[in-house]
Symmetry: C2
Subunit: 204 residues, 2 copies
DNA sequence: GTCTATACAACGATAGAC
DNA sequence: GTCTATCGTTGTATAGAC
């Protein structure tokens, strides 16, 4: 029995190594993380890691890719909702996902290694921000078809909406800074949705 | 003669080391960069570096701080311009600054090291995104006073405007990915400005 | 202050036994 | 496949001469 996608046999040790790599790489960064640390975290010897992965580089890539494969269900919304409700529900889910410590750690790691691992940066973008943007564009397109929104280009509108969600709150979070009083996830979503509706809502 | 702010004597070698540190750290990241590389780039011996900086950590901090001290003139705009002109000029300057390779490299580096160097993350935010947001909020406040815009909170409006500028274009740039056809710096600025005016422009 | 030379630890990767 | 033990390299930091 083999995995249909990768053609690789399932292996408990292999999974343990990947999980350990996630913990160590996300915590320490690529260069600082040592294979000894990963081995210790996984409870195996270093030689065992090299039996499953040819190099530190390959282990790193396999770990990031395995993280990217489990995402993007935030854009499933009830089509009976109006524009404000739809954008609020979707925006809240997306921002909650973005602000999770693990998500932030992946962002930090992929960004910092994007120059030395360009293929990884592309894989991350496609399965992360790229997919997210496509899903949101589709939802906005539906709203436009139902005359709930008036947008010329749903992709651009999705881009602007995501941008308004990923504001100072996200910047401060990814820098690990404390959040100022009064600005919360809820107010950030509400401000973005309000602005979308003021700009693209049906004229009164 | 001493530097008024730091109380430190100016030193040609010290400046050369800082400049070399900028090149090496921004290119290779904190952990991968070696003091040997910095010494070679600066044309001094490793011992000389340790005569000026007590550790790799301190050199890194001094370098980032010296980079942060020279920024933020993008928000100086002619007060005779209307809202669209003002936002377009300011938005274009900000996005040009954000997309510069050196700016992107600083973002990548500070983000990736923010957990291990929290004081640095704060210094970067204050002198970078924080100052930028404050300047834009002030300009928006002026526009609101002149009835060119109708905003309830100029800080929130500034936040939303910056968010709409820092969209997919910025994300792809910081990941080192090629830009899709048709989406340029100019169209990104125009879309953000259009949306701001649709949402907050004076009602017709 | 600046150099050469080096101490000392940690790293990625491998050899060989089982 | 998995382990223990180790190789060769590279890293930060320092000693001592000038």
């Amino acid at each position: 029995m083999q995995d249909g996608k990768t053609g690789r046999k399932p292996s408990a040790k292999r999974d343990a190594i990947l999980e350990a790599a996630r913990i160590v790489f996300l915590d320490q960064g690529y260069a600082s993380a040592s294979m000894d640390s990963v081995a210790a975290e996984a409870g195996v010897s270093k030689a065992t890691i090299y039996a499953h992965f040819t190099s530190k580089d390959e282990l790193f890539g396999a770990m990031i890719r395995s993280r990217c494969e489990r995402n993007a269900t935030f854009a499933v919304v009830d089509s009976a909702l109006n524009a404000r409700q739809t954008l609020t529900v979707m925006g809240r889910r997306l921002l909650e996902l973005l602000l999770q410590p693990q998500t932030l750690a992946v962002y930090r790691l992929v960004m910092s290694e994007s120059e030395r691992h360009p293929d990884l940066a592309k894989a991350f973008y496609d399965s992360g921000p790229g997919t997210g943007k496509a899903l949101i564009a589709q939802v906005i397109d539906d709203l436009a078809r139902r005359k709930e929104l008036e947008v010329a280009d749903s992709w651009i509108a999705a881009d602007l909406f995501v941008g308004m969600l990923r504001t100072d709150l996200f910047m401060r979070s990814i820098l690990g800074l404390p959040q100022p009083e009064g600005r919360t996830l809820d107010t950030a979503v509400a401000d973005a949705v309000d602005t979308m509706l003021r700009a693209f809502g049906p004229r009164g």
